[in-house]
């Protein structure tokens, strides 16, 4: 019996999203860029999807760009801003690699985070104030929710600082992990550009959404046929886009209830594990964390070994990100937060989602306690 607690990595597609996309695989299969009525049918489907997404995000349909996922959206935002505007990119040290590597690639600046994983607001201010007219800050990227430990960024404060000290800079947020837990309308009004990834909210892998506020221009990453108003060329993944809109709508509608339901499950998971084994740290305090993530550090436990034993009990969890070889890398997020090695080596992320039930929690608690005790024997 599989106990899937890796929803932050990906979550099962919602049945209504699958149902919505099927007709577009073998029925309405035309290329929406064509000029015949068959193409117009496909075109209409994505325009309707666009309207749905725009409503959930609280923006105009013209501000929505469909992409291949969160990584593309992050790349398009950072690289697109710097290529268009020159200047310097800034991000926090706990960003997902899709942002961090881009900022490093364009020799940008990385701002430290504190022990909670929040971007250090003073350091951010100092960085923005340290810019020169020759090297202005042109894009600032701060993720809405951290994918590893679940920290919620105080976006309002961040936006205030960026608008005050770098008013011309593009403010981007990777909101990939925020979609299930927050009203995206509240986040979108604070930023210029936002990236989302469909497979994190029950849509398909390989599709994402960017919101680019009108008046903010990025150099497109992908050139070609001029789709998405020249912002992202390439034949539309029609079925994927339909599924994405359906999944996003479902997520928005169910969100309030889901937040309550998942919070209760997550709190029970953490409380019962902490009662069952000693020397475990709840990495970030609950009030600063999204409901779906339970991130724990087991002192002096090797997390590779822990994940192996959990896998034997069919519990799916994760620890840090994997590198190209499939090996786990030590977590740059925990390092940025200053978590000591004897704890971070035993980092475990259990993440919950729309299919998580009480029996998942029961099995996970037993498996984690069993595995940790076995390793510590």
């Amino acid at each position: 019996m599989v106990t899937y607690l890796d929803h932050a990595a990906t979550t099962p597609m919602r049945p209504e999203a699958i149902a919505a996309m099927l007709p577009y695989l073998d029925g309405v299969y035309a290329n929406p860029s064509g000029s015949h009525r068959f193409a117009r049918e496909a075109r209409r489907a994505i325009d309707e999807a666009r309207d749905v997404v725009a409503e959930v995000l609280g923006c105009k349909p013209g501000e929505i760009v469909f992409t291949s996922g969160g990584t593309e959206g992050d790349n398009a935002s950072i690289l697109g801003a710097v290529r268009k505007l020159g200047g310097v990119a800034v991000c926090s040290s706990s960003e997902h690699h899709a942002v961090l590597h881009c900022v490093e690639h364009v020799h940008g600046q990385v701002v430290q985070v504190n022990v909670l994983g929040h971007i250090d607001l003073q350091a951010l201010t100092a960085t923005l104030l340290g810019a020169t007219p020759e090297n202005p800050i042109t894009v600032v990227s701060v993720m809405a929710v951290n994918n590893e430990v679940g920290t919620i960024t105080p976006m309002r404060e961040v936006a205030k600082i960026v608008r005050a000290h770098a008013p011309k800079a593009i403010l981007h947020t990777d909101a990939v992990q925020a979609a299930c837990w927050f009203d995206l309308r509240e986040i979108s009004k604070l930023v210029d550009v936002m990236s989302l990834s469909a497979h994190k909210f029950g849509g398909p892998k390989g599709v994402g959404v960017m919101m680019i506020r009108l008046g903010r221009d990025l150099e497109p990453l992908i050139l070609g046929g001029g789709q998405e108003r020249d912002r992202r060329s390439g034949t539309h993944n029609v079925a994927g886009i339909i599924a994405t809109a359906t999944a996003l709508l479902s997520t928005d509608v169910a969100r309030q209830d889901e937040v309550a339901r998942v919070t209760r499950l997550r709190d029970r998971l953490v409380d019962e594990i902490m009662a069952a084994v000693p020397d475990v740290l709840e990495t970030v305090a609950r009030e600063h964390r999204v409901p779906g993530i339970a991130h724990l550090c087991f002192k002096n436990c090797e997390n590779e070994a822990l994940l192996y034993l959990l896998d034997e009990s069919e519990v799916c969890a994760s620890a840090a990100s994997a590198c190209a070889s499939g090996a786990m890398e030590p977590s740059h997020v925990l390092q940025a937060m200053g978590v000591a090695t004897e704890w971070s080596m035993g980092a475990l992320r259990l993440s919950l989602g729309h299919t998580t039930t009480d029996s998942d929690i029961d099995r996970a608690v037993a498996a984690v306690a069993g595995a940790v005790n076995k390793l510590r024997r």
Partner: protein
Amino acid sequence: MSGGVDSSVAAAELKAQGHEVVGVTMRLWGGESDTGCCSVSDVDDARRVAQQLGIDHLVFNFSDDFNTHVVDPYVKAHVDGFTPNPCIECNRHLKFDRLSERARLLGFDAIATGHHARIESDDAGTLRLARGHDDAKDQSYVVHMLDQVELGYTMFPVGNLTKAQVRERALELGLRTADKPDSQDVCFISRTGGREAFLGKRIPFRIAEVVNEDGSPAGKVEALELVTIGQRKGLGMPGGGPKRYVVDVDTPNARVTVGDESGLLRETFAVRNVVWSDAGDVARLATTNDVLVQSSAHGAVHPATLQVDDVATSVVVSWLSPQRRIAAGQSVVFYDPTNRFVIGGGIAAN
């Protein structure tokens, strides 16, 4: 599973024998690798083979330990004037220590590799590390450090096969590694840049004067750290004339001495950090101390006698007939007089 054909077939053999097998690739070197061992594409090969064999494939990140036990000592050795063997240190500290420790922790009964070697039990019940069936491919030298405990926890499934048989088996199974060339070189030294590029980024090279055995000057080398005992080429010596070898490297004084082959010959030399297959052999060596000595991965063995010190961690080797000096830092392995199995081994001293 390194991504090579030997470990691929080793896994296949174990599965065929009915064992519960899990394939593991160790992520060791984080930088570029073009030598066919442990790069990202090699991990892909290992994973694909595991999938074809129907076994789980895991990747363990031991890169920190690799840096500590293999890479950093490799660099330091060159600074200090030694010629290290990093692949042996990888076996010693990673495969048969870190990995076997992890395997025990996870409840496994043994680890296996694709090395061409065999583990046999002699009449007294002592485990012996024997040479692999294929003489040309025998790798007992590089795994010589295994003691009774590790020998009891290790399996070498392809040790009874020739290389040709291994490739044949891989072909039968449709494994993509069947015709993959063997990795010859150190995984973190690229084929294009070599040691010079790798070390050049990490240590300053010192110019050394080259002198003849009588002390008369013979030239200069740009990088003392890259010079090894016994080296003939790359010294900037004029061609023609008798063969000139590096007969001594004086690291503190940055001086290299060249001479003819006779200048290389030694009757005795010291070996440190000696480890034994079976502690019981040490006592036996006090009375019957004939051994065969091998000082490179596929080198010939030469007869010698051993004088073991009080704590059995150092040995003086006395050759039956003089042999070329072995560069300090190289592994020296002792075989029984019938040349079948390893007795022990250590590191050649200065």
